[in-house]
């Protein structure tokens, strides 16, 4: 039981997918201008990633491995993720057209979000079982959402700051992301403790 908790905590804080593993920076920088959109993006990614981790585990174990075609893993995972993203996009378009418009290109781009492909692959590499895969995927995406939302909170406030012109916008956001990453380094070593 505790080990599952540590999988989640580890994925959220200690090995935060964005701030520590430095994966999924594209939406992290792109959709963090406003809190609302960050929350939406976080939710969408959480959905895709959790589902993607589960599905890819199943496909990996029950299709690819029996067939002995593990070398197709990356390809298969990409296809799975692409399909899930498509479904998510349709759902969001239906339920929240504003969010759909605001997320814009970043929504379909979840497909190419390296975090979304990276986490299922990490699952395989870390020999997680189905539940662990799901939890790891969920934890990672919660970590992603957390970083995204916190980042958006800071960026909303930075909007009013008197940032030197050359650093306005993405540049100072990068500096901020760096400092956030630094802060998360404080968790280093925590996962080894148990």
């Amino acid at each position: 039981m505790t080990s599952y908790l540590f999988v989640i905590l580890g994925a959220v804080l200690v090995n935060n997918v964005v701030l520590v593993r430095i994966l999924g920076l594209c939406p992290f920088m792109g959709v963090s201008k406003k809190l609302e959109t960050a929350v939406g993006m976080g939710a969408a990614t959480t959905f895709v990633l959790t589902l993607g981790c589960g599905t890819s585990y199943l496909v990996d174990h029950y299709v690819l491995m029996p067939a002995g075609v593990e070398y197709l893993r990356t390809l298969a995972f990409i296809v799975i993720i692409a399909a899930i993203v498509q479904v998510t996009e349709l759902v969001i378009q239906k339920t929240s057209p504003m969010l759909h418009q605001v997320l814009g290109i970043y929504l379909p781009l979840i497909t190419t979000n390296c975090a979304v492909l990276g986490i299922p692959l990490l699952n395989v590499a870390l020999h997680h079982d189905l539940l662990e895969s799901l939890l790891f995927g969920f934890g990672s995406s919660v970590g992603f959402s957390l970083a995204l939302v916190l980042f958006a909170g800071i960026r909303e406030r930075l909007d009013g700051a008197d940032v030197p012109v050359p650093f306005k916008g993405t540049a100072i956001a990068m500096v901020t992301a760096g400092l956030m990453s630094l802060a998360f380094m404080g968790f280093a070593g925590l996962d080894k403790f148990h």
Binding site: V149, L150, G153, I154, E156, R157, L158, A161, D162, V163, P164, F167, I172, V175, T176, L179, M180, L182, A183, F184, M185, G186, F187, A188, G189, L190, F193
Partner: protein
Amino acid sequence: MNNSPFVRKAASVQSVMLQVLLALVPAIAAYVWFFGAGILVQLAIASAAALAGEAAMLAIRGKPKALFLTDLSAVVTAWLIALTFPPIAPWWLTVTGTLLAVVVVKQLYGGLGQNPFNPAMAAFCLMIVAYPALMSQWPAAGQLDFKTQLDLIFGGLRQVDAITGATPLDALRTALRSAANPDSQLHGLRTSQLMDGPAFGLLGGKGSEWIALGYLVGGLWLIRQRIITWHIPAAFCGALFASALLLWGMRPDAFASPLFHLASGGAMLGAFFILTDPVSGATTPRGKLLFAAGAAIFTYVIRSFGAFPDGVAFATLLMNILVPLIDMKTQAPVFGHKKD
């Protein structure tokens, strides 16, 4: 010509910063008393670097230099850096840290009042990640004379491992972990026995506990001067005490006591001087409580389970990240919209 109000209270950023500096004096005095005058050199180096960095940035940005250099905010940052870095850190380490703090963490965000992160703590984290060894070498009280300290700061002497050890916090944690290990010769020793060494004093580290007392005195004076409010120190100390009490109560042999945690490392400095930085900290009364309690818990977790000698700096940065959300969600109800 200005509009109303036409009268104002005599208050300025400069006087606020000056009082913060004054409040640091008791702790600095204790520092000098127990650890020698090397810290004064560090304070001077850091101040000079901070002012130089600030002046350069102001010049580049075309801002009025006299106005912003005399506000003393850069000096406060510099002093916090000097007080958190090891007193025998080489000069270039202090200078680099200070410049990073002032130029990157403060001025790139627009200068005074606009930095989301505490510059001094960001500098500390950056340096400890970059130079973990140099940042973890602390002399014991009264161990080094001024001459040796100067040699250490300005180069030359560098066989520090022989003469310095880890901070009491770090030492105790290592000792406790060893004590838990059946193969270690320390196995089975109690906390009180582990703290019997020359590095430890009554509550925390020898000497450093008196510095902590200095911070406490200065901090209480700041509260009396209405520069800071009681919320952050109280919540930080309370939460740190509580979390330490929880684990220490369950396993007194495996964890340090709550009072040890309060008296060691940067706890007091953090509670009264670092987390209370209004720019990067939470501002609403409820927000301040949350902010400081969160910082205390992170501090405790990092101290007890993490890889770094002290958790205050990282905890501060972590909570700085949360500040915009905390402030947003803890706004007090305004006049006429209260529910009572």
